[in-house]
């Protein structure tokens, strides 16, 4: 019975990264199966002027559709969504996105925490959060919320991270479910859907 509930539960993967994470994301995307049946949301700290190229760059690595998340857009499986520059990306309970241009959080907009926290609220146990390399503590509060909502929490092994601070913060401040080497990340996601 419980297994059936899990099977029917809607799933999502959210990936957050800052300094040193782009390479990791590109590697993950190149190893994802193209028929992945869950949505993947990527929140990457970046400069405002860099934006359109990033979606193209990510798309060049995968057969999955990659697009920037739009305000009020219904979230669909099999699509990789990218948080737009200079907005926070929020996940609504009806599984749509909304954007928010409120204050920066952890010096960041988009903030990984905001997307992780709202996605945890919307997807509960169906959510997997993955926090990558970075020089900032953004994402840790979000991972805690994912955990509190019974989702799965994974971080990049700090030893493999170009900038270990961000995943290390998560390990120091909470109980993470998985500490992953770069090549273990895509198999985790592929196994979800």
């Amino acid at each position: 019975m419980e297994k059936d509930i899990l099977k029917d539960m809607e799933k999502m993967v959210v990936i957050g990264g800052s300094a040193g994470s782009l390479k990791v994301i590109l590697h993950i995307l190149s190893k994802l199966k193209t028929w992945l049946e869950i949505p993947v949301v990527i929140v990457l700290h970046r400069k405002n002027d860099f934006q359109s190229n990033l979606a193209e760059l990510l798309a060049s690595k995968t057969g999955m559709k990659v697009k920037e998340a739009e305000d009020k857009e219904p979230i669909k499986t099999g699509i990789i969504y990218l948080a737009p520059a200079d907005y926070h990306l929020l996940v609504e309970k009806d599984h749509t996105f909304s954007l928010d241009d409120s204050e920066k959080i952890n010096y960041s907009r988009p903030s990984i925490d905001v997307t992780f926290q709202t996605a945890a609220d919307a997807y509960g146990a169906g959510l997997t959060g993955l926090l990558l390399s970075g020089a900032n503590a953004d994402g840790v509060e979000g991972l805690k919320e994912i955990k509190a909502c019974k989702g799965t929490v994974a971080v990049q092994d700090p030893e493999t991270a170009q900038v270990p601070y961000m995943p290390q913060q998560a390990i120091d401040r909470m109980q993470v479910d998985q500490i992953l080497k770069i090549e273990q990340m895509a198999p985790l996601i592929n196994g979800l859907g």
Binding site: E70, D71, K72, P84, Y87, L90, V91, E92, K93, S98, L99, D100, D101, S102, E103, V114, Q117, T118, D121, A122, E141, E145
Partner: protein
Amino acid sequence: MDSTVGEDEIKLLLTDLLEIYGYDFTDYAKASLKRRINRLYTLDRFPSFAEFRYRVRTDSAYLQRFIEQITVNVTEMFRDPGFYKALREQIVPVLATYPFIRIWHAGCSTGEEIFSMAILLKEANLLHKSLLYATDINPQVLQKAATGIFPLTHMKQYSENYIGSGGKEDFSKYYTANYNMVKFNEDLSKRMVFSTHNLVSESSFNQFQLIMCRNVLIYFERDLQSRVFALFDESLEKLGFLALGSKETLKLSDIASRYKQEGKEKIWRKIS
């Protein structure tokens, strides 16, 4: 988030706001609203939701703070310079053909955009025959906007934005610095009218050739967005322009078929 204020409690608050004060936040996008309310709850260190609710219900001064804090008032001058460049080069020359120009800044917040617009109009020698209506739900931010006083620390960024928008003047000629604040010249604010207006519940109050409403609609749910688009449609003259934020679109709205996007910036023209 350590959700101290949950969904059911937010519903109670929103009902209070509507019943007691007439502020209707029920069709605001929920995830953002929940974050804002929890942020304020934590910031003001309420020991319990009951006390928070009581304060909102009974203290009208606190209500003003509540409105100011749960609405987002992040803005800057010449935000998205490419957008202002398009305004300057494509839209202002069209406005110039009118004997009298009326512009509505809906959700103007602390006024940075309306002063940007005034500078564009002044540089096109049109400000004297323009009237800029600036409205917001929130009387506090309007008061700030009307002073034309902004922090000096922002001027470097604003000056860069201004240059990015095609500005050729020395930006600092538009203000006088005093300690850590600057005051924009009064000839810019002379043609501005400030008034509270709630897009959710109030109707059209004039006809305009340009309506600016940037990064306001993202806070609304889709149905409310549609209602506001209808309000803008009613308030725009034929061939008038509607300008939205960089991630907002008219595309999926009921009025889309009668509007045509001007270039790649988020500016639409009412064609029928």
